[in-house]
Symmetry: C2
Subunit: 203 residues, 2 copies
């Protein structure tokens, strides 16, 4: 059995680069995940300095059903990245005027990448100012963010509205990423998006 025989069963899609722009940067300096737009974010290896989601580790929650709630684990969810067109699509599906990045705790709004939420794990974001972020994966929309959307958009039944966000936000709610190389990210900055080689693993 040769090496080639083992590996060649899989079709490889080559790595690829796209260009993006930082349309907004936001941070959660308060007691919850809601963010406010700022001019720039200072990033360390632990994420956004002083942010609600900062830290080298975090406590597990509903996204990690395999752990007892509150288990200490590596914090791969340092930043939340969204795209305006995807938020508009969620809003349309929910029957509301808009979903603002602030309401769902987004830290970066990236423009210029079609179907941002579908960028694969391992995608690297090279910011012109020197920061690198690495995409951990899709951000599953939760009911907590749903409540914030329902409340902020003036829905009468907040409980019912909260459920619409997880339903319609699936695969549109953006990405989570961690800091590979620290520095400052500013609004208006250019980003080189490096999509790694892709393939489908079939056991």
């Amino acid at each position: 059995m040769s090496g080639t025989a083992i590996a060649a069963e899989t079709d490889i899609v080559p790595a690829k680069k796209l260009l993006a722009t930082v349309d907004a940067v936001l941070t959660a300096t308060g007691a919850d995940f809601v963010t406010q737009a700022v001019d720039a974010l200072d990033l360390g290896f632990d994420g956004i300095l002083g942010d609600f989601h900062g830290g080298s580790t975090r406590r597990s929650g509903g996204r990690e059903p395999w752990y007892p709630r509150g288990t200490e684990m590596r914090n791969e969810r340092q930043l939340s990245i969204v795209a305006a067109d995807e938020l508009a699509a969620i809003a349309a599906a929910m029957g509301i005027a808009r979903v603002e990045p602030e309401w769902i705790g987004a830290n970066l709004v990236l423009g210029g990448v079609p179907r941002l939420s579908m960028l694969p794990a391992g995608t690297m974001l090279f910011f012109a100012g020197g920061v690198t972020l690495k995409v951990d994966g899709q951000n599953a929309p939760c009911r907590l963010a749903g409540r914030s959307v329902a409340r902020n958009s003036g829905m009468e039944d907040v409980d019912a509205g909260a459920l619409l966000f997880p339903k319609h936000g699936r695969r549109l709610r953006g990405l989570v990423a961690w800091v590979e190389k620290p520095g400052r990210v500013a609004r208006g900055e250019q980003v080189s998006v490096r999509i790694p080689e892709q393939w489908i693993y079939r056991a």
Copy 2:
């Protein structure tokens, strides 16, 4: 434009679980990357305690041509994971009897997963003893490990032999991973391998 319309262009392969076994655990306690088999590894958030590749950050090298060499970056390469069948395939292609995990600095030999090196980024390894590792991606075979293979397998021309490993080790040299949840990993332990949802992103 509805949310569904944006997301539905992509075919999703569902998440899937496999079972694996820890065939060997190894650590590099010396001055270089060469490893020695041990009974168990103690893992913290920074990787293997006292290991050559431990640390929350590392210095960039030839694998990161986009950085000046020596740039401090997040250490996503805490552990090297290999499979015996893939190492045998590399050896056959190189015309040598075998490639030992020690020679190339492997930390874990996993059995039971076909084409281990092709497991996608984001694959989670849940060890029965409580540790979780998250796969960063394929480990690109380098000339340094190639020199070690050439020297250990008794090749006469070590320089020429060193080049054969990167050539024939591509997509067979295993994975690198980081610690999501610390603890102890022991030889013989069972591992639940969780392959995440997969798709191909096309811009």
